[in-house]
Symmetry: C2
Subunit: 192 residues, 2 copies
Amino acid sequence: MARVGLTTERLVRAGAELADEVGFEQVTVSELARRFDVKVASLYSHVKNSQDLKTRIALFALEELADRAADAVAGRAGKDALVAFANVYRDYERDRPGRAAAARMRLDPETAAASAGVRHAQMTRAILRGYDLTEPDATHAVRLLGSVFHGYSSLEAAGGFSHSAPDSEETWTRILDALDALLRNWPTEPTP
Amino acid sequence: MARVGLTTERLVRAGAELADEVGFEQVTVSELARRFDVKVASLYSHVKNSQDLKTRIALFALEELADRAADAVAGRAGKDALVAFANVYRDYERDRPGRAAAARMRLDPETAAASAGVRHAQMTRAILRGYDLTEPDATHAVRLLGSVFHGYSSLEAAGGFSHSAPDSEETWTRILDALDALLRNWPTEPTP
DNA sequence: CCTGTTTGCCTAAAAGCTTTAGGCAAATGC
DNA sequence: GCATTTGCCTAAAGCTTTTAGGCAAACAGG
């Protein structure tokens, strides 16, 4: 019985690719085994169970996304950084839809706290250094940006903006303009 | 063999409740059959398959949510309407997490076009009447609001903002203030 | 009524995914 | 070279999905 050389690492990477091809929901231990031309039970030495596999794919995607984001914002500031950062999320959704869906997976609190999700929040906060926000407004803004990137990507992927004018590309640009304007002029007190 | 009185309608409602209890992903034809104390195969007269069941739950949730939103914005305008509308989404996520997740389910284009999703977009646009936006900026703004509501709810439900100061409640208020300010002062041209 | 048709829920069965237990052989280390 | 570890296998049980075909309850018309 020749050994294929399974590894948790290799399984997770292959799982991420599988997710991009067939959708994160459709990632299955069985299908993964088929791809490695190995019996299903063999995977259970490397992965606890189906849930564990998916969680690992999610963590992998979060890391990858954080790496890309870190790369994009390096050497940039202000709106330039904001746009580069935002585009990483949108492009990831386009290029790696399965991984992007994985990155949106609900993780239990401890797992989430130990994930690259933390890096994402830190980078977002770093971008705000280009704007004059003090706490707690900076935190509010971090959460707003997270919501917009998250929400826009997912609505766009669901086809929410397709087949209707203006096209999604333009809206994206204008939304980033709007967010930039908002951050430069963050309201301190609500105007009633 | 006593008849229980299954109906597509009743199945969908029960499915929505099941989703709120165990999560939308965990909604299963088998579990639903168990709840009606009926054999699994019996459900297949009322529902095409598992996917069909989930789609119907999603459509039901979208309708319910649209009804609530319509109710909330009736007789309101401007920021008042914006806040009431936004709170409907957030409250729905809190009170009916399974249905809310269902409402975020990816639908194929035709189904989506025939869904209450259209009403949601129309209501969002109606709210913008309280602000001075002309096309295509109104569309951009509709998409931004959709993204924020969608994204915030889903991040909050995933526990993204819990256990860290300031609390989610305050952020939500400040984000709505910020969106209101942004809509009253929507940037026409980007500032480079 | 009561008889014929429709309809609702059933049994049966096949197929796929998940997960655990236990075994043999390949790799590794001394 | 031998012992131990490790990797993949077979086997098997349990659960979900889905289709096919059957019987009896509900219902309609005479």
